[in-house]
Symmetry: D2
Subunit: 343 residues, 4 copies
């Protein structure tokens, strides 16, 4: 059970509520309050307890469900959330395609990519300036230099920029250049980082951790929302299983599963999710058919020269072909939605 206190409640009053609930003897775990928008967790209250707690004047809301999250839930907000990044809008029913290279390598590479994806209708480009790398001997990105090149690409072509931020300390720097933060898989539970982007107003692309279950995934988004930032787009990017034919197991089931319980948009990353160029087209269409609010796809002007993950980046020709098919598919989706109203 989650108990939200009213925003204007002081720390002292919040402690009184806590004490009152403790006296009821209902809780197994009660969190300390966080500022005045305090909330309390309590694992085993019954219906009566819930009613009593609800009537405490300082209490704003008590969650009805057993879910450990609240702000990200449909209980908190029934209708789908819409997240805007410039003129790009997630959550409207029309999927958003993000494309770009794994990493920013140099000026000509990123400008060439920006032009090619823009020419194919892309309005939001990805590109890593800070790269988390398993090996300390691998290329770790150009850092601020990379951010500047991304900004230059935006200036020239108008594409908006989403780029990864690896550490709370870099959030302000990345915010200077990027239109949207990306939190990578390995950082899905880096709570200091989540809070730091939660305090910003910029939208956040939150990637699922490699072995995160649904509760953990949504709880990471809840960490961001409790800090005040509700501009969150979730991203499925493959989970770790025993399977040997794909780098990760892209789990499309999470798309309708998230939509059932949360109002947040969710997109899919078939590039990291499969790690196989030849699986990107079928899994992109499958993701959209499963209801994803968008895709994020790796494209490189010369994949074989890519500094990282060359085996999963699409060439310009493959990307052109993919976008033709995606656009054709999205027309069908639109047409079907018009012809046959939802239940």
């Amino acid at each position: 059970m989650l108990v939200r206190l009213r925003k204007d409640i002081s720390e002292v009053e919040a402690e009184k509520v806590l004490a009152a609930i403790k006296r009821m003897g209902v809780g197994v775990e009660i969190s300390r309050t966080r500022g005045s928008s305090a909330m309390i967790i309590n694992e085993n209250g019954n219906r009566l307890d819930k009613m009593i707690i609800k009537n405490i004047p300082a209490v704003e809301a008590v969650s009805e469900s057993d879910n450990p999250y609240f702000l990200v839930s449909r209980e908190f907000k029934k209708e789908n959330s819409v997240v805007t990044v410039g003129d790009v809008i997630f959550g409207t029913g029309k999927p958003v395609i993000i494309a770009g290279p794994c990493a920013v390598e140099n000026e000509s590479q990123i400008l060439e990519t920006a032009r090619l994806v823009h020419a194919r209708g892309i309005r939001l480009m990805r590109g890593g300036a800070f790269k988390p790398r398993t090996s300390p001997y691998s290329f770790e990105g150009l850092g601020e230099e990379g951010l500047k090149l991304l900004a230059k690409a935006r200036e020239e072509t108008g594409v908006r920029i989403v780029t990864e931020v690896l550490d709370a300390i870099d959030v302000d720097l990345v915010a200077e250049y990027a239109d949207m933060f990306q939190i990578g898989s390995r950082n899905m539970q880096n709570y200091k980082l989540l809070k730091a982007v939660g305090k910003h107003k910029k939208p956040v692309l939150l990637k699922r951790g490699m072995s995160a279950n649904l509760n953990e995934f949504l709880m990471s988004a809840e960490h961001i929302m409790t800090e005040g930032n509700d501009r969150i787009v979730l991203c499925e990017r493959g989970i770790r299983t025993f399977v040997e034919y794909s780098r990760n197991t892209l789990d499309l089931n999470v798309v309708p599963a998230v939509k059932q319980v949360s109002h947040l948009p969710i997109i899919v990353d078939p590039s990291h999710g499969t790690g196989r160029r030849d699986l990107i087209e079928p899994m992109s269409l499958a993701a959209l058919a499963a209801g994803a609010d968008g895709l994020i796809i790796e494209v490189h002007p010369h994949p074989d020269k890519s500094w990282s993950d060359p085996e999963q980046a699409l060439s310009p020709e493959m990307f052109t072909r993919l976008m033709r098919k995606i656009n054709h598919f999205m027309e069908w989706q639109q047409q079907y939605a018009n012809e046959i109203p939802a239940r």
Copy 2:
């Protein structure tokens, strides 16, 4: 390396080939021959060895790839295989939808289901007469009585029947009534059963094991093919992972991964794959978008009275809605294929 001998080669000649290869000192493991269509496995031959072996007159073919399977591979057969079950055809590009209840419960239930699915365009019905059940206290199916009811449903409506066979000893009995054998997940590596259906001429629906990787899945099909039956349809039905929001993790990545290396058709079971009624529609469309050759879906005239897996069977109304969407989607696929030729 796989070495296929010519079909007319005698056991004695086959042993000579074996001896010759052994003398070359190339092998770590050499299998005993299986009848005259003998084959040999050899883990560490090099190019030169391969060339020499290929030139032995008794040898028909030596596989070029490192794959442990041969007959199911595109190396053996380049074009897609087509599998017919009466007037139902798998592998033509137009997906086949199989529907029906988890288990045959009684005459009225199975006839009612047959009529309802037939009325919505279904030509192949599923329904279990022999049910593998985790608990010895669960309903294990009506056995032969169930098979008779399935045959009756076929007689009345014309739908073809696919039903599970659990044991080699039941293969002849099931063959009397069914149009297609189903091998369930738990039996994917029941090699005696695979061989038994391999000796029949009836088509086989082979479900992937819960933790089978791609090689193991295809090797089970290879077991069937080595016995002479090449009428095999593969079926993805969810793998076991850490995920908590679906009963299994339906792994659509396997669809394009199979198509890359094998000529066999592959369909998808979103009912067992997700175990959640509300995930069936999005995952059905996703499966078709990923390139699946069909779907197998649980429908029950009164899901809440279903004797097994009630939480995953669709009601007639939900099934009607699903089929409308699937048909609309398949029209788009067809149209796209006509408008824009494949690469």
Copy 3:
């Protein structure tokens, strides 16, 4: 909830009990009775229902726990079960070491192995005559010829024999030669086979399936016990995970987890569980320290010439060394048990 009927209850009376329970409106799933020792499953009864049902004269027992199994549980039998195979006894506190080759290859190999393991104190030998093989091109065992060689090895050395049975149809044949049936991982849910060995009096070594959870593992044992055979030894042999450094992930946690809820002995197979010769010694000791009732270990007189799984069989020298360490360890266990009584 599980309801056991008294053994002398007729099918007609059992149906009456079923009808009575149905009239109470408590059940979601009620199994058909199995002979006169009928049992009923019912997913959602409450305490009151339980009390009423318990008082039906035909009812012998109603399980108090929510576990789906009963006969294998400590609720049914509090003290540890003891399973004897000739003079070998599982479940006494002193671990039993089983050793032998993966497969019976020929007379000299199996006799040599029998002598070598016997000389190191082994009283129960493993050795496969029927081998389940992923590839149809792999050696599938010598069949009955292999069983005869195993019997010969017993005759000469006195070691008892445990060997795998792959199919219900082979149970009588295997029973003629073997002292203990082995059910392999791939057959843990081959229910026809489980029932067939359940009708025999011979003890059964039941290996855990590759992705079986605890309930499924114990339910397979329950299948055997409902047929009347309670001489069951469980065996952990590694589960399938994402891990890349061992062929499977030997899961020792299952040993104390089983002991908590079941009275059956459980042993561990570090050979298949790790697939790495260099991991067998540490994981053998770890298994015993975790409370395993024994080990089953692959030994081959000439591992590099082994026809199957050569990379995991111990050489005679390695096995000698291992047994010395195991014996030393078991002395410590014994001494500790004597010095310091259990809680």
Copy 4:
């Protein structure tokens, strides 16, 4: 292939070596140098390339293996590493037991715990001041106040302190109070944090990520070592699998697998690894039998009042019993090592 340059090589000379290797045309990925102790990665060099590169004067060493790590490997350092924390020494053959509460809650709790573990022979205490919590509503630790209480406990009892650091920015603060840094599972791939502790001289307890394979685990240690800190103790704490009877699957196989390839000590955390109080004793002994260099165990003076993870903390009585058994076991290990020399 990893190429280490001599320490005295300048950035300019390092670039020359890079250029020379590029001219050989051997590499697919060449990392930028990191200071003067530069290293280069190159995925596909052959034996000849290796020999040529080795002879470049600026090159100190070229790794012979295909492993992606070098400093943590036995190739780099053959004998076991020994890591000291005050008078506590990891890696000598005598296991080190770390104990303490999940979180520091208040002065009396942490002092009481320090006294009780100290009285049972513990010289290194755990206790979290910064807690990573899935829920933003859970207790996140006392922060610096908690660190001060830990220091007070050390002052009073003499136990050394290991405590988690969550973010690079906190490293200096934690270093003021702690004797050893702990990097938690969720931060195993927080490279900024790894580098920050790598620049310190304090020892580091590096926990394995929930779905980290062996390479990734060791590569995270390599990140720390490349920064100059080689005082690393690895820790297995359970991986995420499908298993339902333990919170995680404690994977003891990793202990001998690590020892095969790395010189670093590795300990085991049965508390988080199983999440079940009743599994801690058997799995603790199993871990030691598998060769672990130590254990880290949760103890709480009043487990039922613990603010986090109450179901896995041992009570003082249970801990006393466990330590008695562990000490008895370690005596056996010592005795065996003396009586029977290693191979």
